[in-house]
């Protein structure tokens, strides 16, 4: 079994049954975790910011930095591995926030809003999610089984 770490602003896809995809320290960033139980393929993105319009050149170089360029890239990568959209199980984690009454630091909320809009347009249903709060999360996906866990505040639970 190999552990594949998905760094911030990165995405990984694997069809190796023994692989474990993991991403650490999701604060306001969001992980989209996708699994195809038929093809037994798993994918994960850890994006940092909502919209690529602030830095289009950066988005070309690192599409996984932004929701609007990274999420389509993740799904394309899954399709490239032979996955069918109707079989995909999609889970979401992260989008946390600091204690911020005025909402000045609302990157997490903006990250989540953009994702919801994109999924609504594309007809993608979220099977499970763990978002918001002053939390830092670690997300894991076992490619062979599709088991997905979120570790946070000293506890790890299945999503």
């Amino acid at each position: 079994m190999s552990n594949i770490t998905v760094e911030i602003s990165d995405l990984k896809v694997s069809a190796c049954q023994d692989d474990l995809l993991v991403t650490y320290a999701l604060g306001s960033c969001i992980a989209v975790i996708v699994h195809d139980p038929v093809k037994k393929v798993g994918g994960m993105i850890h994006y940092m910011l909502p919209l690529s319009e602030i830095a289009p050149e950066k988005a070309q170089d690192k599409p996984a930095m932004f929701a609007d360029t990274g999420i389509p890239e993740l799904f394309r990568s899954m399709y490239g591995m032979g996955c069918d959209k109707k079989n995909l199980v999609v889970k979401v984690a992260g989008g946390g926030a600091l204690y911020d009454d005025k909402g000045l630091f609302n990157i997490g909320k903006r990250n989540y809003t953009v994702l919801r809009k994109m999924f609504w347009k594309a007809g993608v249903i979220i099977a499970a999610e763990d978002v918001g709060g002053a939390k830092s999360r670690t997300a894991r996906l076992w490619v062979g089984t599709g088991k997905c866990t979120i570790a946070c505040q000293g506890e790890e639970v299945e999503l």
Binding site: A25, S28, L49, G96, A97, A134, S136
Partner: protein, 287 residues
């Protein structure tokens, strides 16, 4: 002895700051000091010489050329920047493998320090404020108090974490439980190392910019506060406090920062943070 007195009495137990870095701090005060004087301090210290050359060659510090001698590096960077690089190298070499009270390893802690230093400088360029002196060093050292207070936080971590998870700012929880927080301890550490006072005050007030005294450079404190919030929000060097930190809206207003500009800073700064943390991190491991 109260808990806070006990904690502050541990400050002098930290290893002394490397003499060459401390002497560079002294040269900062001397307007006549130039490259030859700085070179005289650095050259007898082989570790600092190697570190300075490596870090000075990073894209962040010198995007256009790669200095090959100490003199070239100092001439290129200037006295202030050389001091900032030397301070970074010195701090990296002093980090313990883990800070148990914060459940964070040296590599992640260092990533956070570097992220705050880089983001603070980039935010300054996007803000209405001028760029204060020694902003990089102030960012790098803002959490230095954690090196001292960590073991005390560990002993009381149950009470502190409970308060933080119920909605209290983590440093306020430290203060309630221990009588002192890592920010105040950090100022004591910086002063005991004879670093410039502005660096100490930035550490002291970075969680409470509203309480910054009038004689302290408020822009420096505000920028470190904002950069810290950004780094924590993005999970760069996350510790057991997770996201339990308060954002001060007035600091934000004073800086005149807009959300989109902050996002730009994050997108542009991420690569620099990773590269610089790796370059400086090698420093810690090479000793």
């Amino acid at each position: 002895m109260s808990a806070s007195t006990d904690i502050l009495s541990q400050v002098h137990r930290l290893p002394a700051f490397p003499a060459s870095a401390a002497r560079l701090a002294g040269l900062l005060q001397d307007e006549r000091a130039g490259a030859p004087e700085v070179e005289k301090v650095i050259r007898p210290d082989p570790a600092l010489t190697a570190n300075l050359l490596r870090i000075a060659a990073s894209a962040y510090f010198s995007p256009r050329s790669r200095p090959e001698t100490v003199r070239q590096a100092v001439t290129l960077l200037g006295v202030k920047r050389t001091f900032e690089v030397a301070t970074g190298a010195a701090l990296a070499s002093m980090l313990p493998a883990k800070l148990p009270g914060y459940n964070i390893e040296a590599r992640a802690f260092w990533l956070h320090c570097v992220a705050v230093a880089v983001f603070a400088e980039k935010l300054a360029k996007e803000s209405a404020s001028r760029s204060p002196d020694l902003l990089f060093t102030a960012g790098l050292l803002h959490d230095v108090g954690k090196l001292v207070i960590s073991t005390f936080v560990m002993r009381q971590s149950g009470s502190i974490l409970l308060k933080a998870r119920q909605g209290m700012d983590f440093s306020d929880a430290e203060r309630e439980v221990l009588g002192v927080d890592h920010a105040e301890v950090g100022a004591h550490v910086a002063l005991s190392w004879h670093l410039p006072e502005s660096v100490a005050w930035a550490a002291r007030w970075h969680h409470r910019p509203a309480e910054t005294p009038k004689n302290v450079d408020r822009a420096l404190v505000d920028l470190v506060h904002a950069a810290d919030a950004l780094a924590i929000s993005l999970g760069l060097g996350c510790d057991s406090g997770e996201l339990a930190r308060t954002v001060d809206p007035q600091a934000w207003q004073r800086l005149g920062l807009r959300v989109q500009r902050m996002e730009l800073v994050a997108s542009e700064g991420l690569q620099a943070v990773k590269e610089l943390a790796a370059a400086l991190g090698e420093v810690g491991n090479s000793k």
